[in-house]
């Protein structure tokens, strides 16, 4: 029987050939997700369908390298050797007896194998026949660090034959060597995360105390890949999922944007045409374009059902043509996925798009949108194509759908520019005309007083209290201090009008949210605005301020009555009531180039309101400057306390509700 086995293996391998050209269809054990509107994920057609699972004669293998000609090299960790497979058939083994437990593997164009051996903590360079060309361990260079260990786990090599070695627990990043084993330097360290508690600890604790804590060190990268341009990509497990993938320039600067990722990435692969694949410990596979745009997430863990395409303990990922190969350590197998026709369309578009062929990419993305209208990346690509075609109106609406504020701003700038050129001179002429007419009218008025009756009638309106209150509001612009004094003396202002201002503030807040242009709005779609929350927040803040300020003032010799505080606060808020909406409307003619106009006017408005409140406190309560300052600080603090108390009460109350509902359920069930 023993003789049969190798023969069988060969035979099997021969049988394992697909009929050419066909694309398999299969019901996937996983759903596939793409980047959707508002930074969320949307479900989409399968990007890769499970193809098969190839059992291999390996033991706990931890790395795999797929060479451009389709050969697969596997670091057979448990058996201490490297396997070379062609059509899933072992055609060579290397390093048996030399290697102990190879965990990292890279093979260059010449077939030279670079191996990180975790058993011997050494790096081996084997020629294409498996002869050892070089072996090196911990570098002796002082630059490496006096106390640093060298625990090589993963390895990659760039075109200039620099070796990048991931050393377990290395906080300094990836260690870089030349082929002679000389340490060149560290590359692309992760930043350590500093929490508020740590900052406080550092400020207040002594060195001895600090040393009691676990050192706050940057997580070390867990795997590495190098693309055809020589860009280095790393994945880091245990870091924020949004920054788990990093792509470094030659200078070691990360240029991969924050994006959706995983905290448990195991391996990363970059294809020649700029598609990035990463697999995590839960068997989820992430695909990005080379600029970090998320294309797809899919994959599922094998929970004992043994369905094709599920993963137990993925260690390495690679791509060959239409196929993704994932090495599974616990299955001792490679799981194969095949690109679907849908993903092929996306890839075709992406390939052209990232190379700048926007026009050529557009039809692909239009096709993608036909099949999934939530595929945000498509809108982006189509928008860029329109922009390049100088079809700005179409670009504008596509950027809007892509939720790309920068692009939208640029397209808008172009459109506005066209409008400006068209209408600027007539507009200027019009304004000039108006100035002339106004000057004429004024002169005429001085002579004939023909507007006197109207002016008289208008002044007469101040007989009505609320009109008077309204007119009074404008007095605050020039003489705030005096005006507050009038309130205190009951001479001007009224409670009724104060409430009108409060209502005005609320309405202005809501309307300004809706009318702020897309570029400047924190919301991508009006449906995200929770009106009830906004109203409650604004009202709550105003009520809290009035209540807290009155309470604080009564115990610190403030003279103001509740009425004074209510009316005073209302009039203090008038800059907001007057200007919030106009500023929001103004944004509709601005682009990012003039962002300063928006932020500056808005800041001005808020500072004005703050000053008004300050003066209000000073005047109404008759404080000195110092007393006012103290009062305002204590008022803010009190507001905070109110909120805290409210929160505590809320938690207690919901516990009570929980308890009662459980009780009722129990009685219902058993009674």
């Amino acid at each position: 029987m023993k003789k049969i086995l190798p023969l069988l293996a060969v035979f099997l391998a021969l049988l394992l050939l697909a009929f050419p050209g066909g694309r398999a269809r299969a019901d996937s054990p996983y759903t596939t997700w793409a980047y959707g509107p508002r930074g969320g994920l949307v479900i989409t057609q399968d990007a890769y369908s499970p193809y098969t699972e190839v059992d291999l004669p390996i033991n706990g293998a931890e790395d795999m390298f797929v060479s451009p000609d389709g050969s697969v090299y596997i670091a057979d960790t448990g058996n201490g050797q490297i396997l070379k497979l062609k059509d899933w058939q072992v055609i060579a083994t290397y390093g048996k007896g030399t290697l102990q437990s190879p965990t990292g593997l890279y093979v260059d164009d010449q077939g030279t194998m670079y191996v990180a051996d975790a058993g011997k903590n050494s790096v081996f360079i084997l020629d294409k026949n498996g002869n050892v060309m070089k072996e090196f361990g911990r570098p002796t260079e002082p630059l490496f660090g006096k106390n640093r260990q060298f625990l090589p786990r993963k390895i990659a090599v760039d075109a200039r034959q620099n070796l990048y070695v991931i050393s377990e627990g290395s906080v300094d990043g990836v260690a870089q060597f030349n082929t002679q084993g000389n340490f060149i330097g560290y590359f692309g360290a992760n930043a350590s995360q500093m929490s508020l508690v740590m900052i406080l600890q550092r400020t207040f604790l002594t060195k001895e105390q600090l040393s009691q804590f676990v050192k706050n060190e940057a997580p070390s990268p867990s795997n590495i890949a190098i693309d055809d341009q020589g860009m280095v990509y790393t994945v880091t497990a245990g870091t924020s999922s949004h920054q788990a993938i990093r792509k470094f320039t030659i200078a070691g600067k990360n240029i991969f944007p924050d994006t959706i990722g995983s905290r448990t990435f195991r391996d990363i692969d970059v294809s020649g045409d700029g598609l990035v694949l990463a697999v995590d410990a839960d068997g989820q596979i992430y695909e990005y374009d080379v600029n970090g745009g998320l294309l797809f997430i899919f994959g599922a863990k094998d929970k004992g059902e043994q369905r094709t395409g599920t993963l137990l303990n993925p260690m390495a990922i690679g791509r060959y043509k239409d196929f993704i190969y994932v090495l599974d350590k616990d299955k001792n197998a490679v799981v194969v996925y095949q690109t679907t026709a849908f993903a092929q369309t996306v890839h075709n578009g992406v390939r052209l798009y990232i190379n700048g062929f926007y026009d050529e990419a557009k039809p692909y993305f239009e096709q993608v949108l036909n099949h999934n209208g939530s595929f945000i990346l498509s809108y982006q690509a189509i928008a860029d194509a329109y922009f390049k075609e100088q079809n700005y109106p179409a670009a504008l609406s596509a950027y809007r759908l892509a939720e790309d504020r920068n692009g939208y701003s640029q397209a808008f700038w172009e459109l506005r520019n066209i409008d400006l050129q068209k209408y600027l001179s007539p507009a200027l002429l019009g304004i000039l005309g108006l100035v002339v007419v106004q000057a004429g009218a004024r002169r005429l008025n001085q002579r004939t007083k023909w507007t006197e009756p109207a002016g008289h009638w208008l002044r007469g309106l101040t007989r009505f209290k609320w009109v008077d209150d309204l007119v009074f509001m404008f007095r605050f612009i020039k003489q705030p201090a005096d005006s507050f004094y009038y309130i205190k003396k009951d001479e001007r202002g009224s409670l009724g009008f104060a409430f009108l201002i409060y209502a005005w503030v609320v309405v202005a807040r809501v309307l300004s949210l809706y009318s702020t242009a897309f570029i400047f709005s924190p919301y991508s779609s009006p449906s995200q605005i929770h009106v009830e929350n906004e109203v409650l927040t604004v009202l709550g803040l105003m009520v809290l301020w009035v209540a807290a300020n009155y309470l604080v003032s009564t115990i610190t010799d403030g003279e103001g009555r509740v009425r004074d505080v209510v009316i005073g606060t209302a009039y203090s808020l008038f800059p907001y009531a007057l200007f919030a909406l106009p500023i929001a409307l103004l944004t509709n003619v601005l682009t990012f180039n003039e962002v300063f106009l928006y932020t500056f006017t808005q800041d001005l408005m808020y500072v004005w309101v703050a000053m008004m409140l300050f003066i209000m406190v000073q005047e109404v309560h008759n404080y000195s400057f110092g007393e006012t300052l103290r009062n305002v600080v204590v008022t803010l603090f009190t507001m905070g306390l109110f909120l805290l108390t409210g929160y505590v009460l809320y938690v207690l109350f919901s516990q009570l509700v929980d308890f009662v509902s459980t009780l009722i359920q129990e009685i219902g069930l058993r009674g």
């Binding site: 021969l14 049988l15 949307v42 599922a300």
Partner: protein, 750 residues
């Protein structure tokens, strides 16, 4: 030496069949020199196609009937021999002389059977019993103290087996029938006399037809998705046996449907049928669970998992343990269900010989069984254009400030316009989300449309138009679902309860659901169906009830799965209107006018070797079946080819508005549906598929053959043959040419 070589050749040949290949090309050539470059072959094959079958008669299986067996019954086709000491039996198929063994006679050296497994293999009856700690142990007739009383019955024997140590008795009746052998265990005969022990699982002849490794060429069939084969092989990728509850897990026992948005759950077994082929086109059997399927669990063991045998059986669940949480943190105890499941068992082995001995023959045999029992009725016309299912989303709701308003997505008039633009007369039109506030609210118990969609009169006149042009008009309705957080049912009185005392919970079409108990379900369904069916133009497209079978443990409402199944059948047979079902189980087949969401593949278990259109062959010629909506297909061409191969009619999900309008609603799973984008595609697809499938409309599938890997020919009863080429290369043979990724229809080769 010669013997070794010939042995090798046989092994290779068998293996070649098992894995399926262009083996003819591979044989004889020196493998090492015959490497295929990546340009020719792009990678390994996968198990999502049917493999090539070859007739191979070069095999042998023990055909002797030992002396301790005596002939107890005989009819025109079969002889039944029984060992009266063990209840083991053997069936001789007189047409071929083939002997079917119900148990293992003699253990061989490399069978990998330990004592317990050997007893299991040799026993006709084995049980798993549960003690009070809910620990399960297996005992078999031949390795435990037992008593056996045997008495003859008409065409068979009856045996009363008592496992003395645990006081559990089961009565097994074995009878010869015209088409095979039936095995019955009436519930009356099941006794648990020792309160310490409960009957857990009952195994009946688990080793029926078992084969060793790859000693017999052939395969096992399991009803997974459209159908799956496991070809006999000396090794398997399976690490454990397949346990597949017929009709899925009982929600009443597990409480809630496991929720993981990243996972697509495997198919549930929708028909209680398994089978085995011993030699392609030579011998086969089919096992149909006629009674007790709702408590049946298909267990499949490919050679190499534990033992060296391929066997498959349906075990029956009488008692199960479950986890009872005792506080909100989720701590609790594992305990036994209080009452033994009450159901009768009947398993029917049907034997096939010669030409019928493949999965097509099995499916045809099952089809014949269904028709004879009145469980499958012909609803399809024998001629004319093929059908197409067009499902429209009516309305969805969105929250504005503090209350809900509906978003009209496709109004009745828009639907009418779309239908006339498409001009497909035979369309099955399904209206989803028609109820007030749309898809994510409870349907009313009378016919009320959401106000923004149009009036009931408009709906009725559209339905009329569709009906008169030869199509069907259905309203989507899930009779079981009680949408969470919605009105329309009483949370206190109307919901079914799990054994743990919690409401059953699950999800469907983007919404979280509870499930109605039988009373509420009946009144909701009758209320609505009476009005809907009243004028005869509108039907109901029923989701849920066709495939979801749960027991209800609410005190006073207790209902087990077998009873639930019967009540559902009774309820729906009162309805005098057309009904279509979404992926129904076999017990709804008699009631359905159309089958929706027909699977095109299976769950993809790595140890299965083929996908076969078993379910399709069962229904072909009787009930039209429609696929899943093609909007969501990622390999459209492949899916269409497969639909043509399987005779599946196309299906689309359509809306008038673009999908963006309901992006923030539970219906966002419909991510591509706007008619503007799909209209042309639908017209083209229909035209193409109609040209191929119309000539075989209403015809049964009589044969299906894989001509070469990736090229499949399906023959229909009227002599037409459809050849589908899945590969990237044109196929031509015998004057027939099929372009790459294309299909043709021809006359069958006589």
């Amino acid at each position: 030496m010669n013997r070794i070589i010939s042995c090798l050749a046989v092994v290779c040949l068998v293996l070649g069949l098992a894995v399926g290949s262009q083996s003819a090309a591979a044989q004889g050539s020196a493998p090492a020199n015959n490497q295929v470059t990546p340009a020719q072959g792009t990678g390994p094959t996968n198990n999502q196609f049917t493999q090539v079958d070859h007739v191979d008669t070069n095999w042998h299986i023990d055909q002797t009937i030992p002396d301790n067996y005596s002939l107890v019954a005989e009819n025109a086709t079969f002889k039944l021999y029984v060992d009266l000491n063990t209840l083991a039996f053997k069936v001789v198929d007189k047409r071929s002389g083939y002997v079917w063994h119900s148990t293992l006679d003699q253990k061989a050296a490399d069978d990998r059977l330990n004592k317990s497994w050997e007893a299991f293999a040799k026993s006709g009856v084995s049980i798993n019993y549960l003690d009070q700690q809910a620990v399960s142990r297996r005992v078999s007739l031949t390795d435990s103290k037992h008593t056996l009383e045997v008495k003859p019955v008409d065409q068979g024997v009856q045996g009363l087996v008592t496992f003395s140590d645990v006081g559990i008795t089961v009565g097994v009746t074995l009878q010869l029938e015209a088409s095979g052998v039936s095995i019955e265990v009436p519930f009356d005969s099941v006794k648990e006399s020792d309160p310490e022990f409960k009957l857990g699982l009952l195994y009946l002849y688990p080793f029926f037809g078992a084969t060793r490794g790859d000693s017999v060429p052939g395969y096992m069939f399991i009803p997974d998705g459209s159908g799956a084969l496991i070809r006999f092989s000396s090794t398997t990728k399976a690490k454990n046996m397949l346990y597949d509850r017929i009709y899925g897990q009982d929600l009443g026992m597990i409480g809630s449907v496991p929720w993981d948005p990243f996972v697509v759950p495997p198919y549930q077994a929708s028909i209680p049928v398994t089978g085995m082929v011993h030699g392609y086109k030579q011998n086969a059997f089919l096992s149909v669970v006629e009674k007790g399927a709702a408590y049946g669990e298909i267990q499949v063991h490919p050679a190499g998992v534990i033992t060296n045998f391929n066997f498959l059986t349906t075990a029956f669940v009488y008692n199960e343990s479950y986890f009872q949480p005792t506080n909100r943190a989720g701590d609790g105890v594992t305990t036994l269900q209080h009452e033994t499941n009450h159901f009768d068992v009947k398993v029917h082995y049907r034997f096939l010989t010669k030409d019928d001995s493949d999965y097509v023959g099995m499916a045809r045999s099952y089809q014949q069984y269904l028709v004879e029992k009145g469980m499958l009725k012909k609803t399809t016309d024998a001629s004319g254009d093929i059908g197409i299912r067009l499902e429209f989303l009516g309305a969805e709701k969105q929250k504005i400030l503090l209350w809900y308003s509906s978003i009209p997505v496709t109004t009745v008039n828009q639907m009418s316009t779309i239908l006339s633009d498409l001009g497909l007369p035979k369309a099955d039109v399904v209206y989803y989300g028609w109820q007030p506030l749309g898809a994510s609210s409870m349907p009313p118990q009378s016919l009320k449309l959401d106000g923004s969609l149009g009036s009931v009169d408009q709906l009725r006149s559209l339905a009329d138009k569709v009906r008169t042009s030869g199509g069907n008009f259905y309203l989507y309705f899930d009779p079981q679902a009680a949408l969470q957080g919605q009105g329309g049912y009483s949370a206190r009185n109307d919901l079914a309860m799990a054994i743990t005392g919690k409401n059953l919970a699950g999800y469907s079409r983007g919404n979280n659901d509870y499930y109605l108990n039988l009373d509420a379900l009946q009144s909701h369904t009758l209320g609505l169906s009476k009005v809907v069916f009243s004028s005869g133009q509108i039907g109901l497209a029923l989701d849920g009830i066709g495939w979801n079978l749960y027991s209800d443990f609410k005190s006073g409402h207790f209902l087990n799965r077998v009873d639930a199944m019967q009540k559902y059948q009774e309820l729906l047979s009162q309805n005098l209107g057309p009904m279509a079902f979404y992926a129904p189980n076999d017990y709804m087949f008699a009631l359905m006018k159309a089958y929706y969401d027909m699977p095109l593949g299976n769950s993809g278990y790595i140890y299965t070797s083929d996908v076969v259109p078993f379910l399709q062959i069962v229904l072909a010629g009787y009930v039209p079946y429609y696929g899943k909506a093609l909007n969501f297909s990622s390999n459209l061409r492949q899916d269409l080819l497969r639909q043509i191969d399987y005779g599946v009619y196309p299906s689309y999900f359509l809306t008038h508005e673009p999908t963006g309008t309901f992006l923030n609603t539970p219906s966002k799973w419909i991510y591509s549906s706007s008619y503007g984008q799909w209209g042309q595609e639908i017209k083209n697809t229909y035209q193409w598929m109609n040209s191929l499938l119309a000539p075989v409309k209403g015809q049964a599938i009589v044969a299906r053959e894989v001509l070469q890997q990736g090229v499949v020919a399906t023959t229909y009863a009227n002599g037409k043959r459809i050849v589908v080429n899945y590969t990237g290369q044109p196929y031509s043979a015998g004057g027939l040419t099929v372009n790459a990724q294309d299909a043709v229809i021809t006359e069958a080769v006589p």
